[in-house]
Amino acid sequence: MSRLPIGVASIIWSLVAFGFAVQFFLEKAYIALGVEILIVIAIAVLSRSAGGRTFLNRMKLPVLAIVSAFIVGGIVLILSDLEFYTKFGLDPIGTLASSLGRVAEAYGALIVGALGDPGKISTALASGNANKIGIALRPISETFLATTPLILAGLGVAVAFRSGVFNIGAEGQLKIGAMFAVWVGIWVPLPGPFHVLLALAAGILGGALWGFIPGILKARTGAHEVITTIMLNAIAQQVMLALLLSPVLQPPGGTTPISMPIEASAQLPLLLDLPKLRVHLGLVIALLAAAWTSWLMFRTTKGFEFRAAGLNPRAAGYAGMHAGRTIVLAMVVSGGLAGLAGASEVLGTTHYLSPTISPGYGWDAISLALLGGTRPGGVVVAALLFGALRAGGPGMALATGVPIDLLAFISALVIMFVAAPRLVREIYRVKLTATAPSTPRPQETPT
């Protein structure tokens, strides 16, 4: 049970940081070098105050989980290359070096695919050509675009988890929300801002309804929300398909399950009016929703009830809180946020509804709610990471031929490391303070 003295660990970490700095300098990656220096300064400043140290401790697990996931991802990338095995016997060092180079190339392409090429961005901005600027900024715009529904659905899952309800139905709630929003967008004739606002509200309502059902079932009958939300995910998918093939949503004479486009008045405006940039007002709505969620959870009596029920439902009951009502309300809020994610997608990104409206945003939401420690701020950061992986993947696959599945693998690894804090603690020999309740405890059936 011997633990490395804290001094040794610090020295090792400093050496690693210095090594990266030298590497960045030699490769003239000045932006990366700058970012690293900023991070080091931020850590130094934060560790001077007690609050900052708490924050740093809280960040240790997720950051180390992400680092570990990318390291293991890299190892798998090397080992899955058949040439590696044939060449390794002939020239071990050279093969290893070239394999490591391939990993670096893949991750580099991933970053460029997600954030854009700094060189291109600066030349495009200098040229002042709208088309060029659009193309240069497109990667980061796509990252933000994918981040938007992830933030909203992630917030929904986080609210439920904090309240002790294991809502894994964000995917279904998102789809129902998208359906409600698209219906209002197509059929309700209203002028500009009112139309889009009503459509957003309809999305929230749809998701909330889809959250209310498992909530009330659990409160009244004790039906376990994991089962009911999974079932409701499947039902949501089928309901959506049925409506997409009916005159309710399908254009007259249509044969494919694709809805009519929504009215222009129901569309969420773009944030930047440049060619190729699709990021829209949904991003701002998502950030506002994060602020609202934080206010709800920490500055209201309802949030107090949610958190009390999540940490200790028995004591909450003893103190006079109503377990059933808390569960239902938490599920309604959770579903509403997921529904808003669906609304934002159809009103801002696609402008119509199709069965592929969500490439698994509702499932990613579970992972990133855990990664973000079920805190709204953490969810936003985690959603950015997952958004970047989603947006940067195609670029990486195109540029380096590394299969995009590697990224799904890395996302899964991130969650595995977050869920196994002891593993991270043992690997890196760091102390981890107890983080927020990342997984809800099983809740007793309320009577």
Binding site: T301, A308, N312, R314, A319, G320, H322
Partner: protein, 500 residues
């Protein structure tokens, strides 16, 4: 020497649980290990039974240093544990329970040799006067007998170092006497016994030697004949202790709580509170004694709105109580639940948040939906000072406080408002002597201020120390109510065992 622990040291994050602890016990000897909760008794026993490994120090069995990697090695060395919470399967019979994990098998297929096992159990049972039926189902056995099954388990595994962790906690005084007879007969047959307890009268009665632990260190070892309860208490706590609660006679006022023919069912739907009648007046303490599991939990849950009332009525000041905890609290009823971390506090919440756990929705802590953290913080700061809650700050997680301070948070919350009835369930369970003194004093203060107080406790000492009237609960009924003057240990003990 059969067993010697030499300089055992065990460090947990932030706590030195054992600091160079040395104890020894020989064949045929009964060593009592006395200490408050948190003194390091349990850690020491977990090290002895192979659950933890010590940071320093050695375990010497028969003059040979040993180190146990797991409980199996400790058992092989002859160490048997009887835990406070029994480790038995309810739907097994005694023979299967005893042999579980060390079954005797026969033939190449490993058929369990039940007759052989049964014969050995009968023999052991007779030798030591355990009086256990080898074919009885565990779930049908009273607690005292289940404990003897645990002892049988240890003996069956050839343990001759027997560790009993707070064995009397679940027993009536009479059952405790029976247990002591068994312990003495085991010692006579050569077993080395370590008897862990925080009850002074018990260790004085049973032990050959008493080793006192405080804050992880051995304070000293004494012989019962050469010490007194007061001297032991002082060793245990580190200062002079008031062993009895100082108080005036009760000034009884009008009836506050009336329980009339109350019937309550437990989670399995069985009637566990039967036809219960009880009255508590303003300005008096009624203490309900009883062995654990005689319906006390369900009784208190019904009184506080946590469990539906099946039949009968409960009224406060003549009005029938509403059916929900908040409605009852609003009548001026305070509730100290039996398990503070399970029912009374939210771990992960701060001291301040726990302080307003039942009042967060009222002024000044909130208006409308808005929760005012400033108002909560100032109220909590005041409560921490008023109730002497030792905490680094009001933003500290309540789970990291000591048991005594956790209980003070609950007491501060419940007594911090105007109340006319206090329902306290096991208010001092697992607390150190200092905290017990403090909580008792606060309860008596409330009584003197004219509050009606109902205490439900399985600690007979507590019941006798606090009760102006002592009611005894047995099998879901109040089987007797004695005024304090008549409530002797013997009389109450007999009632607790169901003898009227």
């Amino acid at each position: 020497m059969r067993l010697r622990l030499n300089g055992i040291t065990k460090q947990f994050p932030g706590v030195l649980a054992n600091d160079h602890v040395s104890i020894e016990v020989d064949r045929g000897e009964i060593l009592a290990l006395l200490g408050e909760n948190g003194a390091g008794k349990t850690t020491l026993m977990n090290i002895l039974s192979g659950l933890y490994r010590p940071d320093a120090g050695e375990i010497v069995v028969d003059d040979t240093p040993r180190s146990f990697r797991d409980p199996a090695e400790a058992i092989a060395a002859g160490i048997g544990m009887v835990h406070q919470h029994f480790m038995l399967v309810p739907i097994f019979d005694v023979t299967d329970s005893v042999t579980l994990g060390s079954e005797v098998t026969r033939g190449p297929l490993g058929v369990i040799d039940r007759p052989a096992a049964r014969a050995r159990i009968v023999e052991l049972s007779e030798t030591y006067g355990l009086d256990v039926d080898p074919d009885a189902m565990i779930e049908d056995l009273p607690v005292g007998v289940r404990q003897r099954v645990e002892i049988l388990k240890a003996l069956y595994r050839h343990s001759d170092i027997l560790v009993l962790d707070e064995p009397s906690a679940v027993l009536t005084p009479q059952e405790t006497d029976e247990l002591f007879v068994i312990i003495r007969s085991l010692a006579k047959a050569g077993t080395a016994i370590i008897f862990i307890s925080h009850k002074l009268n018990e260790v004085l009665e049973i032990a050959d030697r008493i080793t006192v632990l405080r804050l992880g260190k051995v304070v000293g070892t004494v012989i019962p004949a050469e010490t007194t309860q007061a001297a032991l208490a002082e060793m245990m706590v580190g200062r002079q202790v008031q062993l009895t609660v100082e108080r005036k006679d009760a000034a009884r006022g009008p009836v506050v709580l009336t329980v009339d023919k109350l019937q309550v069912r437990d989670d399995r739907g069985e009637i566990t509170v039967k036809h219960l009648d009880l009255e508590v007046h303003a300005g008096e303490i009624v203490a309900v004694a009883g062995v654990q599991g005689n319906g006390q939990t369900e009784f208190v849950e019904a009184l506080t709105g946590l469990r539906a009332i099946d039949a009968g009525t409960v009224s406060v000041d003549g009005k029938a109580i509403p059916g929900d905890p908040r409605g009852i609290a609003d009548l001026g009823v305070a509730h100290i639940p039996e398990d503070r971390l399970r029912d009374g506090l939210v771990r992960g919440f701060t001291v301040a948040e726990n302080y307003v756990l039942d009042a967060y929705h009222r002024e000044p802590y909130s208006s409308g939906i808005r929760f005012h953290r400033d108002a909560v913080a100032s109220a909590a700061t005041k409560a921490v000072a008023d109730f002497d809650i030792r905490t680094p700050s009001i933003s500290t997680d309540v789970g990291s406080l000591s048991g005594g301070n956790q209980q003070k948070v609950i007491v501060a919350r419940e007594f911090g408002r105007e109340v006319k009835l206090v329902i306290a369930s096991q208010p001092t369970r697992g607390l150190d002597v200092g905290s017990i003194e403090y909580i008792h004093r606060r309860i008596v203060e409330q009584r003197d201020a004219g509050v009606a107080i109902l205490i439900v406790s399985t600690e007979l000492d507590e019941v006798l120390a606090l009760g102006d009237r002592v009611a005894v609960m047995y099998d879901g009924e109040i089987v007797g109510i004695l005024p304090a003057a008549e409530a002797t240990r013997e009389k109450v003990g007999l009632l607790m065992g169901g003898v009227r």
